[in-house]
């Protein structure tokens, strides 16, 4: 499979998610962890571009980081898969390579 892009910065503070969305190719996966999980939530100012990314990529968000921040899994954008640490490992092994946008 293609590349797994891991983003860990808030989309409101840093542009790493924007850059990732520009460079992620069709069939790639994007995993949102740490402060990047804020990008996974519905009806924010960045939700439209994340939904647009879902048309070409799989998007995942890490559940422990969502919960740590008091955000609700129920409010995650439809189409984003919420995974735990085990799922993170599965993704890292399933894709050919991993790009961490730090």
């Amino acid at each position: 499979m293609g590349m797994l892009h891991v983003v860990n910065k808030s989309p409101f503070e840093k542009t790493s998610l924007d850059s990732c969305l520009v460079y992620a190719k069709e069939g790639a996966a994007i995993l949102l962890i740490e402060d990047a999980v804020y990008a996974a939530l519905k009806d924010t100012a960045v939700a439209d571009k994340v939904r647009a990314a879902l048309k070409k990529c799989k998007v995942y968000a890490l559940e422990p980081d969502i919960k740590a921040r008091g955000m609700e899994v129920a409010k995650v954008i439809d189409g984003i898969d919420v995974v735990n640490y085990g799922g993170f490992v599965d993704l890292a092994t399933a894709y050919d390579n991993v790009h961490s946008w730090v």
Partner: protein, 137 residues
């Protein structure tokens, strides 16, 4: 610090909790400043508004959940907590999503009153101008 100089301190919080150490460091500095009886205000803008999100549960990430400490600010006479409206809206948050921080008003028979005030961008600008010291985290 009786008879000491009291200055107006504004702590500007711009970052989310847990992803970096800034939020926790800011909170500790605020508590130290308040212990020395300074005139302290807190401002939460940009991702800083996430610090006040209620329901934080860090048991899955093995980090200390420091959000309950914001509830102690009232005990430290820190009762001017400003939140930027536009930053909330961008993140699809309202005051209902935030912890209900309160303080007891000694001049009003210890009535419990809300500490959080949501203000506009213009009011944020005015707030900054009023200060002796502005510290950004």
């Amino acid at each position: 610090m009786e008879g000491g100089v009291v200055k107006k301190f504004l702590y500007v919080n711009r970052r989310a909790p847990y992803g970096s150490i800034y939020a926790l460091e800011s909170l500790e500095v605020v508590l130290i400043g308040a212990a020395f009886e300074q005139d302290v205000s807190l401002l939460f803008v940009d991702d800083g508004v996430y610090q006040l999100k209620k329901g934080q549960d860090t048991s899955g990430v093995e980090m200390k959940n420091f959000s309950p400490t914001y509830n102690a600010l009232g005990d430290y006479d820190v009762n001017k907590i400003y939140v930027d409206q536009e930053s909330l809206e961008k993140r699809n948050l309202t005051t209902d999503d935030l912890m209900a921080l309160t303080y007891e008003d000694e001049d009003d028979d210890y009535a419990e009153k809300p500490s959080i005030r949501v203000i506009s961008r213009d009011e944020v600008a005015d707030l900054m101008e009023e200060q002796d010291v502005v510290l950004s985290f």
